[in-house]
């Protein structure tokens, strides 16, 4: 499974793996794909610095990427404490009342934390500055084009820039801003998604940006058949995320049986696209927590970045409690096929083998 992206990045397979875990990212890169570390969870730049140093040392010299969350238009923002003052009391009350009703205990003494600040532009900028001192080959932006000066700075460092797009017009705009690679994020994807499903979106974007801009198919990719489908649609590779949450290297698994139970039992119908995670539509596992926000008495989610500040402590509480009925987890429709926990290298090997089987099957049809 080789496309021009393999030569461009020095990888064996055009399988890009978004993950919040450096252990997963390193394992994917070692297995021949490109691990892409999600930075949004790093409130502390020193921790990111240490993590990227670890990545530098644990990928056997193979390339890796990083993922930041940065809107193109720089928002007005204060410190997190100022933003918190903008959250209506009704919203805070709803969250507290809902956690109580769902039986989610408070965090143990001393374990509260500040919430996830990576959604703030200033924090994402600091992530970028830290990353530029390491050796990522790709910087991906989950919110579309990053600011033009960020793209230029990456290019000066020889780093390619990828951006997520949920519609052809957004992809075209990213390319005009200087983005190198488009991640065509279909409706079925976990996390932030648009409404156009991959079957339609991938060829839409491939044709809109033309042959010189590589497109990665994203959303619903968990098997080699789906990689073959994406490449048939014209993509040059795939962007995967959900499936790595189900690997042995994903550290949360080892400390949280409820998390594992939640995704292994879920079917493809058990996700929901909602604004409750960040303020923008994102696909999550459907649980009592997402259902509570869909009830009539629930408030409208707040805009980004307020909504994530509102719920991030709640997410910590929910996920620490480990109740699989309540857990808060961004995940795609492919969750229906995540039924066992496997090592990353096994997953990569299966993807490649099944891709080859799918192409062999197609050859019999022609």
């Amino acid at each position: 499974m080789r496309t021009p992206l393999c030569d461009e990045f020095g990888i064996d397979y055009p399988i890009f793996a978004f993950t919040p875990s450096e252990h997963v990212a390193a394992a994917v890169s070692r297995a021949g794909g490109l691990g892409v570390l999600g930075c949004v969870r790093f409130n502390d730049t020193d921790e990111l610095e240490q993590t990227l140093t670890w990545l530098d040392e644990n990928t056997d010299g193979k390339p890796y990427g990083v993922d930041i969350v940065m809107p193109m238009k720089i928002p007005t923002e204060g410190k997190s404490v100022d933003l918190k003052a903008m959250i209506p009391q009704d919203h805070l009350d709803f969250v507290e009342r809902t956690l109580h009703r769902l039986g989610v205990p408070p965090l143990p003494e001393g374990e509260g934390r500040e919430g996830v600040l990576g959604w703030l532009h200033s924090v994402a900028r600091s992530h970028l500055d830290v990353a530029l001192n390491h050796r990522p080959v790709l910087i991906a932006n989950a919110l579309g084009s990053p600011p033009v000066d960020v793209i230029e700075k990456c290019h000066e460092h020889g780093i390619k820039v990828a951006a997520l797009a949920g519609a052809a017009k957004h992809a075209l705009s990213h390319v005009q801003n200087g983005v190198d690679i488009i991640v065509a994020q279909g409706y079925e994807a976990g996390g932030h998604t648009g409404e156009i499903a991959s079957m339609v979106l991938q060829p839409d974007i491939v044709d809109a940006v033309g042959p010189d801009v590589p497109v990665l198919g994203a959303g619903g990719i968990g098997s080699g058949r789906q990689i073959a489908a994406s490449l048939a649609l014209g993509s040059q590779g795939v962007w995967t995320g959900s499936i790595w949450l189900g690997t042995e290297e994903y550290q949360n698994l080892q400390s949280n049986a409820g998390w594992t139970q939640a995704f292994t039992r879920a079917t493809s119908s058990d996700t929901v696209r909602t604004r409750i995670y960040t303020g923008k539509p994102a696909r999550l596992l459907k649980t009592k927590w997402t259902e509570a926000w869909a009830e009539e008495d629930a408030p409208e989610p707040l805009p980004m970045p307020l909504q994530n500040l509102l719920v991030s402590d709640a997410h910590n509480r929910i996920n620490a409690s480990g109740d699989p009925d309540v857990i808060s987890m961004p995940i795609g429709q492919i969750v229906g096929r995540m039924n066992e926990v496997r090592p990353v290298a096994d997953v990569v090997a299966s993807l490649v083998a099944e891709f080859e089987e799918a192409v062999a099957r197609l050859n019999k049809v022609v």
Copy 2:
């Protein structure tokens, strides 16, 4: 492009084409696919009888299918006049007020009609009885498994039965009821759809029903690349619908410039999944009509079959007016690629040629 379905049905390509037009159905069958005539629009069984006779005589002896709309559980139903009495006055007022606001004139004198009755079980049964006097090779049911005695009757006549499914558990249930072929109807499809997108749904259903039950990929199929993607996902053929609305043989086009304008200018983002057409979620072109139903003062759509009885006169008025901003049209996300009106034979030839190109491209990747 040959799969075992080609031998089973005596067709050249595993391309199944759902269409309300006998002219399109005949042209697809003549071109080597399988035209499937939608029967729901036939209130008058004599008209269906004549149309199927025409099909028998105009497919050059090639096979064709018919599509009925029949729930498995037989609902309590009266005559259409009794059902109409169950429609709340508020709903009738909303429809009338909305049509007035959107500038939709009444139908010309004498052109009103009874609404579409094919949604009624008794009418769908009469469609079946008429069809059995002709030579369809396939009877497809848009609402999942038809009643078991219907399946048995089809089998006695040597006719295969197909049923639409939007989730693996529904597909399994159809197979247990005796259905022969599953149409895996993805989120991106026009008309009735579930929430799981094709990239995930097709392999879900293929694996659930096993190798002995052929699956047709449906939703978002408008090019040979998408056929290759579906076959890569494990489907044995494709079920297409929207793209045939944009063919020269589709009669509506010739008398309605607004209809043509509406779909040629639409992008992949210009559809909406809503209950306003039949009472069950179905994907339509997004227009001022669908938007009116999404406003705060709009009533909740009624259950099937009441909702279609409520709106079918309105649809006649809207579509007769030909205003592309208001038009009522079930259509999939592939509408973004329907940009010109072409003969059916050209569309089929392009699908086949592009499929072969896509497989050749995949072979270079392996």
